[in-house]
């Protein structure tokens, strides 16, 4: 038998639980009308909040609802994929990273956009921004904003940014020796997509490639040199060993605290570093990644764009949303208010914007230098191999040539077994 005191506890517990249960049911019962649901990573959901309100005001029959996803690209992808695998996805539009498109298209989750947007849809896109939206002859995605890897540098510590790997090392060493900064250069070295972006820029900068005609060339002298350089940065203490577990936020945290002279990151960091309370406000500039003389200063293209889900029940309304959010006017607002890089040529050339945001011209140049990660339905595996193997070099587990040899073998095997569909 339960003693009365214990009984009272149980009753209290029960009352509390029933109360919360009914609250929850009340929340579920609220109705929504004519919904178009969009999944976006958190920062973009914040940035588009005003635009979404404007859309809902001007379109009384469509209720646009934005779901704030996680920030990390892979976490958003996991969320989107689990909703798609479960069937009856609650979303109509997805804000997708450029590297997902072929996989999602091959899985049959996306609706081709050619029919909805017409053949001239891409005409207004700036050079670099048109890449990675079509796959297998069809348009699957329309870019909202461009993203590309940038090299941030401290204007208070040096006159001009380094343009070659050797210069970057020399400047870092000098500043570290003078005690100006504890570290020289921070970047994304964790085993995740961000590392693949870092490596792609250096591959090009050292004169190498990821794939040539669908064959991996990752044990080329250039590729080995690029990885060796990253390994050396850690070994010489220019980059902290913690880089092997660093993503974008960790790198930004260290750089913003004034603990490093250089950082590789995306344009969002520019806005963040220039916030009123930022200790580095006005002390930072950006350029493209360093490269060996004669090789291109590459910027990995990481644009975000909308895709229409094949399972959507509100396709026409969703296309309406897509047009509105990617319009020149919307891109202009996103740039003025949040500093996001547009994808439309007409926005890049807007005199009002150029006056308000002088960095825009530099961003357009960086975008023109954009390089694309391989377009393949098995890209996730290819990239997984790349970042795992390069990470073994960064942590010092393996020498750079050995890591790249292993990477080459594994990539070859992967592409062979996937029937050359790379």
């Amino acid at each position: 038998m339960i003693p009365p005191r214990a009984l009272r506890r149980w009753v209290l517990l029960l009352v509390a639980l029933l109360g919360s249960l009914s609250l929850g049911l009340w929340g579920l019962a609220r109705e929504r009308l004519e919904p178009v649901s969009v999944l976006m990573p958190a920062p973009f959901a914040d940035a588009t909040a005003d635009l979404v309100n404007a859309f809902n005001r001007s379109h009384p029959r469509i209720a646009l609802i934005v779901t704030r996803g996680p920030l990390e690209t892979e976490a958003v992808s996991d969320l989107a994929i689990s909703s798609l695998l479960l069937g009856e996805s609650p979303y109509d539009l997805l804000l997708m990273d450029v590297s997902w498109t072929p996989k999602y298209a091959a899985a049959g989750w996306l609706e081709p956009l050619d029919r909805w947007l017409g053949p001239k849809a891409l005409d207004d896109l700036a050079p670099g921004a048109e890449l990675g939206n079509a796959f297998g002859g069809q348009l699957w995605r329309f870019p909202l904003l461009a993203d590309m890897g940038l090299l941030f540098w401290r204007t208070d510590l040096m006159e001009a940014p380094p343009r070659t790997p050797a210069e970057l090392v020399a400047i870092s060493r000098r500043l570290q020796r003078q005690g100006q900064v504890p570290w020289g250069y921070v970047w994304q070295g964790k085993q995740y997509e961000g590392l693949s972006c870092v490596v792609l820029e250096l591959l090009r900068g050292f004169g190498g490639h990821w794939l040539v005609n669908n064959d991996p060339v990752l044990n080329s002298p250039a590729a080995v040199a690029a990885t060796s350089w990253l390994q050396e940065l850690v070994r010489q203490g220019i980059t902290p060993a913690a880089v092997a577990n660093m993503g974008e936020p960790e790198a930004l945290q260290l750089f913003q605290a004034g603990d490093a002279a250089f950082m590789r990151n995306w344009p969002y960091a520019w806005a963040e570093l220039n916030k009123p309370d930022s200790p580095l406000r006005g002390k930072v500039a950006f350029t493209t990644m360093v490269s060996e003389p004669g090789e291109p200063h590459a910027a990995t293209q990481g644009s975000w764009g909308f895709s229409l889900l094949a399972g959507s029940k509100h396709k026409a309304a969703a296309v309406e949303v897509l047009r509105f959010l990617t319009s020149a006017e919307a891109q202009k607002q996103l740039n003025l208010r949040w500093g996001y890089t547009p994808t439309r040529l007409s926005v890049f050339e807007d005199p009002e914007l150029l006056a308000a945001n002088p960095a825009l011209a530099d961003l357009q140049l960086a975008l023109a230098a954009a390089v694309l990660r391989p377009l393949s339905p098995v890209y996730a595996q290819l990239s997984d191999l790349l970042y795992r193997n390069v990470n073994t070099a960064i942590t010092g587990e393996r020498s750079a040539p050995m890591a790249m040899q292993q990477l080459q073998l594994n990539s070859e095997r992967l592409l062979r077994s996937s029937g050359g569909e790379g």
Binding site: A107, G108, Q191, P240, A241, A242, A244, N245, T395
Partner: protein, 291 residues
């Protein structure tokens, strides 16, 4: 009468079959199919190829080794610490009840919650341990960025969380040992160490084995902790079998291979726990013979 008993059991047994047996059978079928992004997510029969791929997949073997290493280290640490804590809590101390409750708290918290907490504790350079280390003028400890250290950090976090469970089981075992056995031993002049070895440990064996079996099975399926704490890195050095299977399904969209990996992990689990169980039976037979 008898059919009514079966009727009473039927709903529970049906749910158990649906949750345990159906998935395993489904995996058996799925492991003979190619179902991936390359087949448009539709199944295509390919015989034993997935199993061949598993056999030749160095990453599968690496993850097997890493999962075994993690399990062996954390389970043995947990058994040792758990035994120590159980012995401590078995003493007639003041505030024993409170202490027992507090020491059980880590076990009750969600793994993902505390994994996130550990990520912050292990942060390099801003976490508390590394700030302490920096205060002493030493270089930061790369808890989450060095393959040789990160797996131990994961073992540490796992040990922190599951030791209380082991301790509690063992405490129950300790309390079931009749006190007069110890008194008799004390009369014969046995040292505390001798009575621990001669009385406590033999009588505790069944409890030790239950705890071992249960913890071993759970540790071999480690997933939550690794996914949140390290994501399998650095350099893939903490990736567990379950995480590899998860990546194959949810990120690479390769369901056939994911099912094969899950069955592979299950086979390893079966072999290890089977061995432990046999050990147990051998042990109890030995004890029976001695009696």
């Amino acid at each position: 009468m008898r059919w009514r008993l079966w009727l009473l059991m039927a709903p529970a047994l049906a749910l158990l079959l649906a949750v345990f047996a159906v998935p395993l059978l489904h995996y058996l079928w799925l492991s003979t199919q190619a179902q991936s992004v390359l087949t448009g997510l539709l199944p295509e029969p390919i015989g034993a190829q997935q199993w061949l791929r598993l056999w030749n997949d160095s990453r599968f073997w690496q993850d097997t080794w890493q999962t075994l290493r993690f399990s062996a280290a954390s389970v043995s640490l947990e058994m040792l610490l758990g035994l120590a804590i159980a012995l401590l809590l078995d003493q007639p101390l003041r505030g024993r009840g409170v202490l027992r409750t507090i020491s059980l708290l880590p076990w009750a918290l969600p793994t993902t919650v505390m994994a996130l907490g550990w990520r912050w504790i292990f942060n390099d350079p801003y976490g508390p341990i590394n700030r302490l280390v920096a205060g002493l003028g030493l270089p930061a400890i790369p808890f989450l960025s060095n393959p040789a250290i990160t797996w131990m950090a994961a073992v540490g976090a796992d040990t922190w969380k599951t030791t209380p469970f082991v301790a509690l089981l063992l405490l129950a075992g300790l309390q079931a040992i009749p006190a007069d056995l110890y008194e008799a031993a004390a009369l014969e002049g046995a040292t505390p160490w001798q009575s621990l070895r001669r009385i406590t440990l033999p009588l505790l064996t069944p409890y030790l084995l239950i705890a071992l079996l249960f913890r071993l099975a759970q540790a071999l399926g480690v997933f939550d902790l690794i996914q949140v704490l390290t994501g399998g890195g650095p350099a893939g050095s903490t990736e567990s079998l379950a995480l590899y299977a998860y990546l194959n399904a949810m990120r690479f969209l390769d369901f056939g291979y994911s099912a094969t990996l899950l069955l592979g992990s299950f086979a390893i689990l079966l072999v290890l726990c089977g061995a432990a169980a046999l050990l147990w039976r051998g042990n109890s037979r030995l004890q029976g013979a001695l009696r």
